[in-house]
Symmetry: C2
Subunit: 138 residues, 2 copies
């Protein structure tokens, strides 16, 4: 009863998927399916919105992209790995600072190892009040 090779979803390299992959590669930050779709349209690539959703989902499942949810509740994607940063967002004015967290990266690794997890990615979000807003009594 061959069951071993079950998981090899083998995504076919279609024009649309190539386009989406490229869009993800060019982008620096997380993007929603809708944003990617618009971006492709703008670039002249004709790809259906549903296809974008389906492809991103498949890629996420295959571990090819990282997923997160933006404050607006949209699901957003970003190509995996490479040194990334986190965000420090002001709850008052929405101002965003990019921060890196060597300490966090290390911690994430340690925790993953401790629990026997592999291929661990992480998302960190800091939300607070910036000095200006705090001064304004926000």
């Amino acid at each position: 009863m061959p069951d071993i090779d079950e998981r090899s979803t083998a995504l076919r390299p279609t024009r649309q998927r190539r386009a989406i992959t490229d869009a993800l590669f060019v982008a620096t930050d997380f993007q929603s399916a809708q944003e990617i779709h618009e971006s492709l349209r703008g670039a002249g690539e004709k790809v259906g919105l549903a296809t974008v959703y389906r492809t991103l989902q498949a890629m996420a499942e295959a571990g090819e992209v990282d997923v997160r949810h933006n404050p607006a509740g949209e699901t957003t994607y970003r190509r995996c790995s490479d040194s990334h940063h986190h965000h420090l967002v002001c709850r008052g004015c929405g101002r965003t600072e990019e921060v890196t967290g060597p300490a966090v990266e290390a911690w994430a690794h340690a925790v993953a190892e401790q629990f026997g997890f592999v291929d661990v990615h992480h998302t960190v979000e800091l939300v607070g009040l910036c000095a200006a807003c705090a001064a304004a009594g926000r």
Copy 2:
């Protein structure tokens, strides 16, 4: 030109708001507006779903509750502060481990200070493959 006291949104202590606050207090983890609504119904409290949404939003804006998005994309809420934990989620089977991160807490504080932010809350999420799934070739 009095403008100073502008931000005091002064939420009125209505029956509904009290009920929602209580529900949040009892809960240990993040809950969606819908879950809270159901929970209230079950407890005999009659509160409109829209009110739950509006109240939670207001509380979030006032910094009285923390907000996050669950994997399903729903917005979830939890009362602020008190020692909390983070999650290590398996991308293969969905298994979830609770982890604490003194290191992360410290880092968050440091970063906040460095950027002049105050009252900073944070969310951390680790996603990877658990040992079992990794062994299964997921």
